[in-house]
């Protein structure tokens, strides 16, 4: 998963629009760039990316999904976790 893909989703599907354009560290949640519906759609997209449902008790939304970099890290972390769980 690369940054460009996340940015494309945020801009084209969720219509996130910030001054100066999206960057890896642009605040999405804390700044209000993503509203409730946007966060819900982002959640559906991330669930699709990792291939499973996400337990809300395992996610700290304000930090885990606040920036493009944190979203990428979350997806990578979840995939790694699932891979190691599968090999156990």
């Amino acid at each position: 998963m690369d940054r460009e893909r996340v940015i494309r989703f945020l801009e084209h599907e969720l219509h996130v629009n910030v001054h100066g354009g999206l960057r890896a560290d642009t605040s999405l949640i804390e700044s209000g760039a993503l509203d409730s519906l946007g966060i819900l759609r982002l959640a559906l997209w991330i669930e699709n990316e990792v291939g499973r449902s996400l337990d809300p008790s395992t996610i700290q939304l304000p930090t885990d999904w606040n920036t493009i970099d944190s979203i990428l890290a979350f997806i990578a972390r979840t995939r790694n976790h699932d891979r190691s769980a599968a090999t156990r």
Binding site: V18, D35, S36, L40, L44, S53, L54, P56
Partner: protein, 403 residues
């Protein structure tokens, strides 16, 4: 600022990350003010976006929920655009106990944003003001027992957390009434119409009516020894029973006569109280609730509270209700009950309706947020108990404003 704001009209706060925080163009600045009496008609008016009920019923509901609330004055935060109220978040007063200590806790309830002001960051602005004000007033935490998926995820994004599922089990055939996210508006509408059509067809075929009509007829036709049914709470006796029963110290709403008298006057719900007495002493009660809808007779009923002095009394109450066979579906949150009660429910055909745990289709839970600093060591505890463990909560449907 006056007039309807335009996208990009005003930019907002920087975040903790300083200049790296980009500002959304759609964000609009609203003035958020606390409720005062002058807003009463407006609040009742915009609540039409939450409920199809008539103005009269919405007024009665407002009176009951906020003005007659036994604990606090209305805790409602209003977003204004110019002179116009365009959104609100309300909290109702609740009183909880844990290990013998009592706490007033605001419970998040009605959330309304006028359609033309959605997706502008209004909810976050209201909630930020609400969190600050509720903390200033000394409340330790705020909770939400009735969040639907979109409110649920919005709450999580603002630092709220869930305690784990309340375990909805039901007996009967009514499908989960909660809207599923991820499906389109048209599809939801079709599903709703389909459910309504099925319900109508069933009522035509079976001759059934809203549940308490059948229920009341069945009670008269087949009285049960030692069991009484009433339309009103025996508040003193019920509170007395709760006080007499062993208490394990979990977080639960205080059920004293004052609360019970008030709670069961909800004008948007109907209740029946099934009592078991021995020698003039109340030994158990089971309360059934339904939504008292004007236009769509409810065919689903809920066990909103249930207490008994023994397993035998508890079973007798449930079996009486099931023998009267008045409901197409009956649901209860079983998370608060021990293994023996769960087994009793399972023996009588109650099954879980929840399958997957998902952030996009969350189970009913206790959502909460500390009102002080969330990073403090004890922020997520109350009375020494962790708030994030559902096993520390004893939550009945009646504590939620959804019933």
């Amino acid at each position: 600022m006056t007039g309807v704001p335009q996208p990009g009209e005003m930019t907002l706060r920087a975040t903790s990350s300083g200049d790296t925080a980009r500002i959304p163009l759609r964000m609009t600045r609203y003035e958020v003010v606390p409720y005062s009496d002058e807003f009463q008609d407006t609040v009742i008016d915009i609540s039409r976006f939450l409920s199809p009920d008539s103005l009269e019923r919405r007024r009665a509901y407002f009176q009951w929920k906020f003005l007659d609330n036994p604990y606090v004055d209305p805790m409602i935060y209003l977003a204004k655009s110019g002179d116009r109220v365009v959104g609100m978040r309300a909290f109702s007063g609740t009183k909880w106990e844990v290990d013998g200590s009592e706490y007033m806790i605001p419970c998040a309830t009605n959330l309304v944003v006028l359609p033309e002001h959605r997706q502008r960051g209004i909810v976050r602005q209201i909630m930020e003001v609400a969190h600050t004000d509720l903390a200033r007033r000394g409340f330790p935490i705020a909770i939400n027992l009735s969040a639907r998926p979109i409110t649920h995820i919005a709450s999580l994004s603002m630092g709220w957390r869930g305690a784990g599922p309340l375990e909805d089990v039901r007996r009967g055939t009514i499908s989960d009434p909660r809207p599923r996210p991820g499906i389109g508006r048209v599809q939801r509408r079709v599903q709703r119409l389909w459910r309504r059509a099925i319900g109508y067809a069933k009522r035509r075929v079976t001759g059934s009516r809203p549940p308490f009509k059948r229920f009341d007829q069945a009670v008269v036709r087949s009285p049960r020894h030692g069991i009484a049914v009433d339309r009103y709470p025996w508040a003193d006796s019920m509170a007395g029973l709760v006080k007499r029963l062993p208490y394990d110290g979990r977080l639960r709403h205080v059920r004293d006569p004052q609360y019970l008298e008030w709670r069961y006057r909800n004008p948007l719900s109907d209740y029946r109280f099934v009592y078991r007495q021995q020698h003039g002493v109340l030994e158990g009660y089971l309360v059934i609730g339904t939504k008292a809808r004007e236009h769509a007779p409810e065919v689903e009923a809920y066990i909103v509270d249930w207490e008994a002095s023994s397993a035998e009394v508890r079973a007798a109450l449930l079996e009486a209700v099931l023998d009267w066979d008045a409901f197409e579906a009956l649901a209860v949150w079983q998370g608060c009950f021990d293994a023996s009660v769960r087994a009793l429910l399972a023996r009588h055909g109650f099954e879980t309706t929840e399958t997957d745990i998902s952030i996009t289709s969350p189970r009913r839970t206790v959502l909460m947020r500390p009102l002080g600093r969330a990073d403090r060591q004890d922020a997520w505890t109350l009375g020494g108990r962790s708030l994030l463990e559902i096993g520390n909560w004893d939550v009945r449907m009646i504590y939620s404003d959804g019933f």
